[in-house]
Every structure is written in structure tokens, then in C-alpha cells.
């Protein structure tokens, strides 16, 4: 979408290891490597989709970027400023620019606060004065997200799931942020309501010039909403590409398998579709498989996959893959030459 090379957000080698402790003195005996070395950029005005199965670390990534969790390694740059280890106090002004939409519209709104109080809270916390008072500002935002401004004094339980999600969106928009992290923004909603909220997010992006990071497990929703897509597996990014490239010529076997697993509402073709069925479940992030983490479920895996970790290398313009045997790759691109392989 945007041609500007300026990344709004830049993540370099981001890591989050949750310690596993044992005994009285909380001796650390291991770690859940929820996010294990992520690097990506989010450009101004674009939507980056982050997909993966449960346990791949996508939610943790969202929480690290917004600094709701403290990273254990790596760097986060927001507008070229290192925010990796900023204190709560110095983060506060930053929160105006970076907001989050949560998955569950039932638990992310305080049931004892009115809509006016919920959406008005950012103004109060940040001490922002508006021209015609907070109430007017809140009502304008409610209208913007398609809610009735007269519902200012109602409580969350008086709204349906879709409307609550709109309240959550209104709250994130209150202070006109630059970056919005949306963690599964529509997965708790009914199909017909999902489409309403997806359309709303797109309209708001055009109107307010927002940048989104959308975290979701639903590949069709991600394709619809994103400009670029990053696929995660066990705490690592296995493939990043423009939407069209990723969905039309996926290079990583895991992406291919994910795409072929999505049930398609086409009765005529249900017998002829080629399917790749992965065996088993995602391995535990406590003890991830060595080298390429996907090799235990990959049908293309060979000896090298068990010993040498494939680097995330750019094989085509804007198309990065971490695989020794990528599919759909241009002939001249040999992944093991594209970067020095990291021995496991």
C-alpha cells in the first residue's frame, strides 16, 4: 500500500522467554520460548497480518509491542525510538500513539463503567482537553464507529457482541493513535457481524490514516484485511510477504499446509481439492525441535532440517522465507547461500 520506506515500528530479534520455576526458592528449571527471535517492520499506513496456530506466540508478540509484557531480548523501535525497556512512566505518553483492540468484547470492557466512561478514559488518563469537552469528543467517536451517540450513558451489558467490539474500537481511537494492534478483533463475533467490523476497520484506516498489526488465526480474514502477512510457527516467523505473493505462491511448506487446510465453501470442488494434511499437533514451546522447528511435521524434511536452522532469507522481492527447501522459489535463489546458516 504505502510506498514509504519509513517503518513506523521496527522489531529486531524480539524474544520473550517465560521462566518455569520449581521449588520454594523458585529455581528456574526451563523456559517457555513463546517468542524466540522475531524481526519485522511495520510501514506507515499498512496493515500487517500476523497468523499462526494457537501457541505460536502471536498474542505474546502483540503484547510485547504494546509493552504490556517486558521483552527478554531484542529491540522494539517505534518511530526510530528504542522503547524496549522504557519505564511505565515514560511509556505513558507513548500509549497515545499505540493502542490495542482485544479479542473478547465481553471481558475487555469494565461492566461497571458506562460507555461514556470507557471511551472517555483515555482523555482523562492522558489529561487531554478537547474543544467542546470530553463528552462531545466521545460522542463523535461513537458516531464514527457506528454507534448511537445517545448511548453514552449505557453499560456494556446492554450491547450485543458486535456493538461491544465497536465500543472497544472507539476506545482505542479516542486519542487518534498512529498504530493499532488488533488481537483477534473479530474471532469472537458471528459471521455477519465479523464482516461489519472488518469493513469498519478498513474504513477507519482510510479515514484516519492508521497503521494496523492484525493478529488472527483465520487466514481468510487476514487475507482480506492485510497488505503484508507474516506467518508464525513456534515463536518464529517462517514467512513474510505481500498478501498476494503469500496467498498465491507460498514458499514455506507450513504456509502451504495452512492454506490447504482451510475449509472452502465450494461444494463442487470438495473432492478435487488437493490437500496437505499435517500430522500431529504443534510441539511444545518449552522444548521446541532443534534447527528448523517445523521439521517434525514437514513432509519435505531432510537431514539438514534437523541440524541447521534455516535463516529468514529474502528469496524474492519482499518475500522472506525460513526454509531449506522452499516451494515456488525463483530458480536462482538458493536459500542456503542467501545467508550464513546458523548452526543449531
Amino acid at each position: 500500500m504505502s510506498e514509504s520506506p519509513e517503518p513506523l515500528l521496527s522489531v529486531q530479534g524480539l524474544e520473550k522467554h517465560f521462566p518455569i520455576t520449581k521449588g520454594l526458592i523458585k529455581r528456574q528449571v526451563g523456559a517457555v520460548k513463546a517468542v524466540d527471535g522475531l524481526s519485522f517492520d511495520v510501514r506507515k499506513g499498512e496493515t500487517l497480518g500476523l497468523v499462526g496456530e494457537s501457541g505460536c506466540g502471536k498474542t505474546t508478540t502483540g503484547r510485547l509491542i504494546t509493552r504490556l509484557l517486558e521483552p527478554t531480548g531484542g529491540k522494539i523501535l517505534f518511530e526510530d525510538r528504542d522503547i524496549t525497556h522504557l519505564s511505565q512512566g515514560s511509556l505513558r505518553p507513548l500509549r497515545r500513539d499505540m493502542q490495542m483492540i482485544f479479542q473478547d468484547p465481553y471481558s475487555s470492557l469494565n461492566p461497571r463503567h458506562t460507555v461514556g466512561a470507557i471511551v472517555g478514559a483515555p482523555f482523562r488518563i492522558q489529561g487531554v482537553k478537547t474543544e467542546h469537552g470530553t463528552k462531545k469528543a466521545v460522542q463523535d467517536i461513537l458516531e464514527l464507529v457506528g454507534l448511537n451517540p445517545e448511548h453514552y450513558n449505557r453499560y456494556p451489558h446492554e450491547f450485543s457482541g458486535g456493538q461491544r467490539q465497536r465500543i472497544g474500537i472507539a476506545r482505542t481511537l479516542a486519542l487518534k493513535p498512529k498504530l493499532i494492534i488488533a488481537d483477534e478483533p473479530v474471532s469472537a463475533l458471528d459471521v455477519s457481524i465479523q464482516a461489519q467490523v472488518v469493513n469498519l476497520l478498513e474504513d477507519l484506516q482510510n479515514e484516519l490514516d492508521l497503521t494496523y498489526v492484525v493478529i488472527a488465526h483465520d487466514l481468510s480474514v487476514v487475507r482480506h484485511i492485510s497488505d503484508r502477512v507474516a506467518v508464525m510457527y513456534l515463536g518464529k516467523i517462517v514467512e513474510v510477504a505481500d498478501r498476494k505473493d503469500l496467498y498465491e505462491s507460498p514458499m514455506h511448506p507450513y504456509t502451504t499446509a495452512l492454506l490447504s487446510a482451510v475449509p472452502v465453501p465450494d461444494v463442487k470442488r470438495r473432492t478435487e481439492r488437493e490437500r496437505i494434511r499435517l500430522q500431529g499437533d504443534v510441539p511444545s514451546p518449552i522444548n521446541p525441535p532443534p534447527a528448523c522447528r517445523f521439521h517434525t511435521r514437514c513432509w519435505k524434511a531432510q537431514e539438514i532440517c534437523k541440524t541447521v536452522e534455516p535463516p529468514l532469507a529474502e528469496l524474492a522481492t519482499g518475500h522472506q522465507v525460513a526454509c531449506h527447501f522452499p516451494e515456488n522459489a525463483p530458480k536462482d535463489a538458493v536459500p542456503s547461500d542467501a545467508g550464513a546458516p546458523v548452526p543449531a
Binding site: 458486535g162 472488518v198 498478501r243 490437500r275
Partner: protein
């Protein structure tokens, strides 16, 4: 369906089933006049949004509303037996053996204090007079059949020791352990990741062929029903609003709500559309179902019915060869709208 008059009863047949729940705020009409038939070896997909009455229907078939405040009327015929008037004890003897259910969330549907094996063995021994050792062997056999690795070890695991996909497999093993003739799966894959979902859907398809049971699959995901179902029933506000073969529903849908569902879904198998076409508004409250056609406040074509949709409940009528639609628009109007206004938008890039 409802227009059936004579002849052999189907394996499963619902006639004008109504399940109403009296509450302090009024009567919740969860299921309001539902009829359908299902034969052995066939799969029926029931599609609808939350609150459309699809889960209440399945619990009703299993007789799980008996002994609650629910008011049930109509008929449920299973293999020649009427279940609405049957006693609770009698329906209990059928559950497990004749009919079984796969629930959405295996973690809350299984007992956390008993091993997976013990739960399968318990059900098996209620219906079969066999010793513990035989039942245990059967449980191991079932776990192996649904693809759980090392079943002779995992039979002694507790539900929390299983991953989500394995738990769902264990629940399928439990449901199939007594070889039921009717299997109801309520959102069987909603809690699962897509790669695991694909495995479970394959498994259900294979097992159905092997056991030749009748399968009802309840879901909000049109992709899932397209993978499995022979026939599809679309529910809205406690009523069936469209029923037909899978191809009728996906290739020639005639109800505006079905169009809305198809337009709301981003699809991976087609060119990406610039914009989704959602249904406006929200699903109705089942206490205050709108007058006339329950869908009319959200319907984009309500204006073309000369006000009939606001006052009269449309009947479920056959449009062609077993394809039933509940709509005030005439058949020609509906087909015209689908061909000229809906279909091109769904397919355009």
C-alpha cells in the same frame, strides 16, 4: 420435510418441533416449528448464527431438555420411535447406544477427575454386559481408530494431559464407542486450529462411511458444512429459512439471509473482493422475534414484498426438487436477484 404426508418414516424425522423456555422476561422461542428428515449414512449440516436455535435443537433430539423448564411440542421420530413423549428413563437407554453427541469444547464436556479410558469404559459397560478387561480393550481399540498415538498408554491419561485436537479425538472415540446410529456434532472443530480441524473433519468423514451412521453437524462455518454435508438447513430465529442439497445452498441459494452469510465471508478460493457485504443489524432476540418474517429488519430486499414481510410469517415452500425456502419474494424474483445482484458481487475481484 414438512410437506411429507405418507410413506415410510425416515431414520430421523422431526415434525414441527418447538422448544420454548419460559423466563421472567417472557418466553424464549429457541426452536419454533422445525421439521426435517435424515437417513442413515447421510450428513445434515445445520447452519446459523448464535441464538438461532441450532444447539437447542440437538439437545432436544438427545432428550436433554427433559426434566427442565423447557416446553417441548412436536414429534421426534428416531428409527420408528417417538421421543418427545418418551420417558426420561427410556431416552437415557438410547443415549450413547442409539445416538451420541460430540460437543464443542472437549475440556468442559469430559470429567477432569477420570481418565479418558475410564470415561469410555463407563459408557460402554452401561450398554454392553461385558467385563472390565473387555471394555478396556475396546476403549484402546477406539482410541487407536481415531488416531491417538500409543492408545494403550494414553487410555490411562487424564483429559488435561491431552492437547486440544487429541481431546476432540478422544471425545469422538467416546461418542462412537457404542456404535451409535445417529451422531450429532455441535461445532466439533470451532475450538481447534485449522490444521487440526482438517484432520478432525477427515476423521469424521471416514468414520461415518465406516459406521454408516446418520450425522448432524452444527456449525456457523459454511466452509465446514461444505466439506461434509449432503443436505444443509439454514436456521434463523428458531426457524428453518432454507433447506436443500449442499449444491442448492451454495450454487443456487434463494434466501436473502443465506446470501448475506455468503457475502459476509472472505473466501480463500476466490479473488479477493474489495469489500465484504455484511448483513446489517444484529440477530434478533428470541423473546421478541420481529413480527412477520423474522429476518425482515435486516433484509435488503424487504421493500420489494409490498409490506408482507412485516406482517405475515412466510411459509417454508418448495422451490424445486427438495429445495425449500421461507421468503415472501416470488421464486422468479429471488432467482433474478441472485443471478443479477448477488452472484456477480460475490465473484467479482
Amino acid at each position: 420435510m414438512s410437506e411429507r404426508i405418507t410413506g415410510q418414516k425416515s431414520f430421523l424425522e422431526l415434525n414441527d418441533l418447538r422448544i420454548h423456555f419460559p423466563t421472567d422476561d417472557g418466553v424464549v422461542k429457541s426452536v419454533d416449528g422445525l421439521s426435517f428428515r435424515l437417513e442413515r449414512g447421510k450428513t445434515l449440516g445445520i447452519v446459523g448464527e448464535s441464538g438461532s436455535g441450532k444447539s437447542v435443537t440437538s439437545l432436544g433430539v438427545l432428550g436433554l431438555h427433559k426434566g427442565t423448564r423447557a416446553r417441548i411440542s412436536g414429534e421426534i421420530w428416531l428409527d420408528g420411535e417417538e421421543l418427545v413423549s418418551a420417558t426420561q428413563e427410556h431416552v437415557r437407554t438410547l443415549r450413547g447406544k442409539k445416538m451420541a453427541m460430540i460437543f464443542q469444547d472437549p475440556l468442559s464436556a469430559m470429567h477432569p477427575y477420570y481418565t479418558v479410558g475410564a470415561q469410555i469404559i463407563e459408557a460402554y459397560r452401561i450398554h454392553h454386559k461385558v467385563g472390565k478387561a473387555v471394555a478396556r480393550k475396546h476403549a484402546i481399540d477406539m482410541l487407536g481408530r481415531v488416531g491417538i498415538p500409543q492408545p494403550e498408554r494414553r487410555v490411562d491419561s487424564y483429559p488435561h494431559e491431552f492437547s486440544g485436537g487429541m481431546r476432540q479425538r478422544a471425545m469422538i472415540a467416546m461418542a462412537l464407542s457404542c456404535d451409535p446410529e445417529l451422531l450429532i456434532a455441535d461445532e466439533p472443530t470451532t475450538a481447534l486450529d485449522v490444521t487440526v480441524q482438517a484432520q478432525i473433519l477427515d476423521l469424521m468423514r471416514d468414520l461415518q462411511q465406516e459406521f454408516n451412521s446418520a450425522l448432524i453437524i452444527i456449525t456457523h462455518d459454511l466452509g465446514v458444512v461444505a466439506e461434509l454435508a449432503d443436505d444443509i438447513l439454514v436456521m434463523y430465529g428458531g426457524k428453518c429459512i432454507e433447506y436443500g442439497g449442499a449444491e442448492d445452498i451454495f450454487e443456487r441459494p434463494e434466501h436473502p439471509y443465506t446470501w448475506g452469510l455468503l457475502g459476509s465471508m472472505p473466501r480463500l478460493d476466490r479473488e479477493r473482493t474489495e469489500r465484504l457485504m455484511p448483513i446489517k443489524g444484529t440477530p434478533p432476540s428470541l423473546i421478541n422475534v420481529p413480527d412477520g418474517c423474522a429476518f425482515h429488519p435486516r433484509c435488503a430486499f424487504e421493500g420489494r414484498t409490498e409490506g408482507r414481510a412485516r406482517t405475515r410469517v412466510p411459509e417454508l415452500l418448495e422451490t424445486e426438487g427438495g429445495h425449500l425456502v421461507r421468503c415472501h419474494l416470488t421464486r422468479d424474483e429471488r432467482r433474478g436477484i441472485w443471478e443479477n445482484e448477488i452472484k456477480p458481487n460475490l465473484e467479482s475481484a
